[in-house]
C-alpha cells in the first residue's frame, strides 16, 4: 500500500537526521555531475551499496532489485553512443561488428553516464528506504524552517496518492463498462482528459475540502506557533556521519582524479 519508506529507526542510517542524511546525498551527487569517468560513480555506487547493507540494514536484493529498470536504460545509452557519439570518427575502435565500429569514446561515455545514473539512483533509494516521510518533513520544518502549512500539505498529498490511483482505476473500469471505447483518434487524448478530469477533480476537491475543514476544526493555524511531539534534532553523531561521508566522497574523487585513470582522455 504505502509506496515509499518503511525504514524505521532500527538502523544506523535510520537514526540519522533526515536533513543531514539529505545533505550527505547531495555531497555524493555533486561529484557525479562534474566527474566524467566511469570509475568514480562505480566506486560511489559500491560504497553506497555497502552503507545501505551495513548501516541501513537493507539487503542487497532490496537495493538492487528496484534498479533493474536502469539495465534497459544502460543498453539504450550504450546503443545511442555506439551510433551517435560525436567522437566516434576520431576515437580508437575497440572492436567491430561488421560495419559497426564500437569506439573507445562510445564505451567510455556510455559507461560514465550509466554508472552515474545508477549511483545517484541508489543513493536516493537508500535515503528513501531509511527515512520515514513524516520525519523528513518534520526535519525540514525544524532544521530548514519549512513552513508547517507547506509540510502538512505535502503529507496530506502523500496520503491521498494511493486514493487517487484507486479512483483512477475505478473510473477507468466504470467508463469501460458503460461502453466507452479507448479509441486511437487524434482528438482522443482530449476527450479522455475531459471524461477523467471531471470525476477525478470533483473527488479531489471534495476530499481536500473535507480535510481542510477537519484540520481547521482541530485548530490548525489558529495560533501563530505550534508545538511538536517529536522534535527532529541534529546530534553530534549526525555531524560526524556527514563529515565522514564528505571525507569518503572527497577521497574517492581526488584519489581517482590524481590517478592516471581520471586524467585519461579519449581524444
Amino acid at each position: 500500500m504505502v509506496p515509499l519508506a518503511d525504514g524505521g529507526p532500527s538502523s544506523y542510517l535510520g537514526r540519522r537526521n533526515p536533513t543531514i542524511k539529505f545533505a550527505a546525498v547531495i555531497a555524493g551527487a555533486l561529484p557525479l555531475t562534474f566527474v566524467f569517468d566511469p570509475l568514480t560513480p562505480l566506486l560511489l555506487f559500491i560504497i553506497t551499496l555497502l552503507a545501505g547493507r551495513f548501516l541501513g540494514k537493507l539487503t542487497l536484493r532490496e537495493q538492487l532489485r528496484p534498479l533493474a529498470v536502469f539495465v534497459l536504460a544502460g543498453i539504450a545509452i550504450l546503443l545511442a553512443n555506439i551510433f551517435f557519439n560525436k567522437q566516434n570518427g576520431t576515437s580508437a575502435v575497440v572492436f567491430s561488428v561488421g560495419a559497426l565500429h564500437v569506439t573507445h569514446a562510445a564505451l567510455w561515455a556510455a559507461g560514465s553516464l550509466w554508472t552515474r545514473i545508477l549511483a545517484f539512483a541508489l543513493m536516493s533509494l537508500v535515503f528513501v528506504r531509511t527515512t520515514q516521510p513524516q520525519h523528513l518533513l518534520l526535519s525540514l520544518v525544524h532544521q530548514l524552517h519549512l513552513n508547517d502549512r507547506v509540510a502538512y500539505g505535502v503529507i496530506v498529498g502523500y496520503r491521498m496518492l494511493p486514493v487517487f490511483m484507486a479512483d483512477y482505476d475505478t473510473i477507468h473500469a466504470a467508463q469501460r463498462l458503460r461502453g466507452v471505447r479507448e479509441g486511437s483518434g487524434l482528438l482522443h487524448p482530449f476527450s479522455r482528459f475531459r471524461r477523467y478530469a471531471l470525476p477525478l477533480l470533483t473527488g479531489a476537491i471534495r476530499r481536500a475540502g473535507r480535510i481542510a475543514v477537519a484540520m481547521d476544526a482541530r485548530a490548525f493555524g489558529a495560533l501563530p506557533r505550534r508545538s511538536y511531539r517529536e522534535r527532529m534534532v541534529v546530534t553530534a553523531a549526525d555531524w560526524l556521519f556527514l563529515a565522514a561521508a564528505v571525507v569518503v566522497i572527497a577521497a574517492v574523487v581526488t584519489g581517482i582524479g590524481l590517478s592516471s585513470f581520471g586524467r585519461f582522455t579519449f581524444s
Partner: protein, 596 residues
C-alpha cells in the same frame, strides 16, 4: 450549549442552509440529530466549532453558545479545545501518517508541551480501546479502527461538546457496533455533551437522551423526547424523509393491523416486552406455526442466468480475494451480497460484470463461459452500478447519460437515436423526475438524483441482471425508498438484482436470498430469515442482526415460542404476516394463549 435564532447562508448559495434555529442542550446530554439530506445537519456542526462564521463565508445571524462561550466572539483556537468534530469518512479527516501523530496533531496546534501530548495519546487510545495501535501507520488500519482513531484524536483535545457527523456511514455492521459501544460509554459518564448525526437509529435509540429534527429548509421541526418524535410525530418525520427505527416501524405495522401494543416502546428489549404484553399477540404467533418455505420470487425453471462454479480469484499482487465461491442467480432473484469490508464482495461483483476477467469455466452467463465473451457481450447481460455514481458518468448532460447507454458511438449526443429510442429516453427522464434537468450536467444533481440516474443508465440498456455496489450509502429515507422502488419494479418486470450491501434492513426487507462472504469464502447462502436464525454466522461475518430479528428472537425466548416459529419473526414482512390482523385473532381464539 444553545442556539438562538441561528441562520446561515453560504456566500456561494442563494438558499439558507439554516433558518432561525433555536434550541438548548444541557451539559452531559446526548442528542440525536435527524433530518433529510441537505437539511443543514453538517452546517450545524460547523457552527458549533466556530468554523462558521470565522472561516466559512456567508450570512450569519443569531447566536450559538458552547460551554459558556459565544461562538462568534471566540477565536477558533479556543473553540477547538471545547468542541470536537468527527466526520463520516476517516480518510478525509486524517492529515498525518501514524496513529500517534494524528492524535497529537490537535494538541500540537494548541501548543501543548510534548510530555503532556504523550500522556493524552495514551489516555485517548485507552478510551477508544485501541491501546495496541500506538505507533502504527494509519494506512494499515481497518475502517472501524480508523474511525476510532479519529474519535481519539478529537477526545485528546479534551472537548466538552462532541459532534459526530454520521461516523458509522462507511463501516461494516460489526465495526459500527464497536464504535457505538464507545460512544455509548462516553454518553453514560456525562462528562461530554454529545450531538450525534446518524441514521442507523436502532443501534443508538436506547441510549440517546433526546432528538432534534431539522426540516428540509434547515429549520427546527422537533426538539424533545425520542418517543414523542418517533410515535406522535411519526407522520411529520416520514413526510420529510427521516428514517425511523425498525422496531418503531414494526410496532406501527402491528398497530395498523389492529393490535393494541401497550406504551411507546423504543429499542429491542422494550419492544419485545411490549409485544409480549400485547393482548393475544403471542398466542396468535404461536398458532401461526413454522415458516412456510418462502424462497422468494426467484424462478428456477429457465435455468440460472448467472452460474458461478468454484470460483477462486487472486489479484496480481498475490492478494487472495475469493476462495471456491459457487452461486446461481435465477430470473427475478434479489440477491444480497453481505460480509465484512474486504471479504471479497466487490471482487465477486467485478468478476460477474467483466471489470475483472474470471478464470475459464468459472462464471457462466446464460450458459456461456464469461471468460470467452467479449466485454460488450458481458455488458449486455450484466449491468453494474458503482458505489460512487460520479465515476460512471461519461456525458455532459443528464439526457446524454441515457443516450450514451443506448448507443455509445453517439458520445451522448441525441441526434444519433431513432425516434423509438428518443421516446425511451424521455420516458426514463420522466420516471426519474429529471425532465426539467435533462440538459443539466450530471455532476450538478443531488446525491439521490445522481444515484438514480446511474441506475437508469444501466437499466435503459435492458440488461437482465443488475449488480449494485452499496447503492444506499449516504442516502436518506426518501432517496433510499425511491431507489428500492426502482429495484422492485425492475425485479417485477423480470429483472434480477444482486446488491452488495452492509444494510441489514435492506437484506431483511428486500432480498430473496443472501450470500455472506467471509475472507473470500461463502459462509452462508440462503434466505435472510435463515441467516438471522444463525447468530454465529452473523457474528463471524462481522454482520449484525437487524433490530426486528433481535425483537423476534427475544420475544420467542421470553414468550417460550418454539419450533420453527422464530424464523417467521425475523423480518418485518414475515412478522406482520405471521401476526395477521388482530380482528382475525379474535375469531380464531387459539388455545394456550401466551401473554396476559
Amino acid at each position: 450549549m444553545s442556539a438562538a435564532g441561528l441562520s446561515f447562508t453560504y456566500s456561494t448559495r442563494l438558499r439558507p442552509a439554516l433558518t432561525d434555529l433555536s434550541f438548548d442542550v444541557s451539559p452531559g446530554e446526548t442528542v440525536l440529530v435527524l433530518g433529510p439530506s441537505g437539511s443543514g445537519k453538517s452546517t450545524l456542526t460547523l457552527c458549533l466549532d466556530g468554523l462558521i462564521p470565522h472561516l466559512v463565508e456567508g450570512d450569519y445571524a443569531g447566536d450559538v453558545t458552547v460551554a459558556g462561550l459565544v461562538v462568534k466572539d471566540t477565536p477558533v483556537s479556543v473553540l477547538a479545545g471545547r468542541t470536537g468534530l468527527v466526520f463520516q469518512d476517516p480518510d478525509s479527516q486524517f492529515c498525518t501518517l501514524t496513529v500517534d501523530d494524528e492524535i497529537a496533531f490537535g494538541l500540537e496546534n494548541l501548543q501543548a508541551p510534548p510530555g503532556e501530548i504523550e500522556q493524552a495519546i495514551d489516555t485517548a487510545l485507552d478510551v477508544v480501546r485501541l491501546s495496541g495501535l500506538r505507533g502504527r501507520p494509519l494506512a494499515g488500519l481497518s475502517g472501524g479502527e480508523k474511525q476510532r482513531v479519529a474519535l481519539a484524536a478529537v477526545l485528546a483535545m479534551g472537548p466538552r461538546l462532541l459532534v459526530l457527523d454520521e461516523p458509522s456511514a462507511n463501516l461494516d455492521p460489526a465495526a459500527t457496533t464497536e464504535l457505538f459501544e464507545i460512544v455509548r460509554s462516553l454518553a453514560a459518564d456525562r462528562r461530554h455533551t454529545i450531538l450525534l448525526i446518524e441514521h442507523k437509529l436502532d443501534e443508538v435509540i436506547n441510549w440517546v437522551d433526546s432528538v432534534l429534527v431539522l426540516d428540509g429548509e434547515g429549520g427546527l421541526l422537533f426538539r424533545g423526547d425520542p418517543r414523542e418524535a418517533f410515535y406522535d410525530r411519526r407522520a411529520d418525520l416520514s413526510a420529510i424523509g427521516v428514517w425511523r427505527p425498525q422496531t418503531v416501524e414494526l410496532v406501527a405495522g402491528l398497530q395498523e393491523a389492529g393490535w393494541e401494543v401497550p406504551g411507546e416502546p423504543l429499542g429491542v428489549t422494550e419492544t419485545a416486552a411490549a409485544l409480549q404484553a400485547t393482548p393475544r399477540l403471542t398466542g396468535r404467533l404461536a398458532a401461526a406455526g413454522p415458516a412456510k418455505d418462502d424462497a422468494g420470487p426467484g424462478s428456477a425453471e429457465a435455468g440460472p442466468l448467472i452460474e458461478v462454479r468454484d470460483l477462486s480469484y487472486t489479484y496480481r499482487d498475490g492478494h487472495p480475494a475469493l476462495d471456491h465461491v459457487s452461486l446461481s442467480l435465477f430470473r427475478q432473484d434479489f440477491l444480497a451480497i453481505a460480509g465484512a469490508n474486504g471479504a471479497g464482495k466487490t471482487t465477486l461483483g467485478s468478476l460477474l460484470c467483466g471489470i475483472l476477467s474470471p478464470p475459464k469455466d468459472t462464471v457462466l452467463l446464460d450458459g456461456a463461459d464469461a471468460a470467452g465473451l467479449p466485454a460488450w457481450a458481458v455488458a449486455d447481460k450484466v449491468g453494474y452500478v458503482f458505489q460512487n455514481p460520479e465515476h460512471q458518468f461519461v456525458a455532459a448532460t443528464v439526457r446524454g447519460e441515457l443516450v450514451f447507454s443506448l448507443d455509445p458511438r453517439s458520445r451522448g449526443r441525441a441526434g444519433h437515436l431513432s425516434s423509438e429510442q428518443d421516446r425511451l429516453v424521455d420516458g426514463w427522464l420522466e420516471r426519474l423526475d429529471l425532465l426539467k434537468l435533462a440538459e443539466a450536467n450530471p455532476f450538478s444533481l443531488s446525491q439521490g438524483q445522481k444515484r438514480r440516474l446511474s441506475v437508469a443508465a444501466m437499466l435503459i440498456r435492458g440488461c437482465p441482471v443488475l449488480i449494485l455496489d452499496e447503492p444506499t450509502l449516504g442516502q436518506d429515507a426518501v432517496q433510499s425508498a425511491r431507489l428500492m422502488e426502482m429495484m422492485v419494479e425492475f425485479q417485477q418486470a423480470g429483472g434480477t438484482v444482486a446488491m452488495i450491501t452492509h444494510d441489514m434492513r435492506i437484506v431483511a426487507d428486500f432480498a430473496s436470498r443472501v450470500l455472506v462472504l467471509g475472507e473470500g469464502r461463502v459462509v452462508y447462502s440462503g434466505d435472510p430469515a435463515g441467516l438471522f436464525a444463525r447468530p454465529d454466522v452473523v457474528e463471524g461475518a462481522r454482520l449484525a442482526l437487524p433490530a426486528v430479528a433481535q425483537v423476534g428472537l427475544r420475544l420467542s425466548e421470553i414468550a417460550g415460542l418454539t419450533g420453527g416459529l422464530p424464523a417467521r419473526l425475523l423480518t418485518a414482512r414475515a412478522f406482520l404476516a405471521a401476526a395477521g390482523r388482530a380482528a382475525d385473532a379474535e375469531t380464531l381464539r387459539p388455545a394456550g394463549e401466551g401473554g396476559r
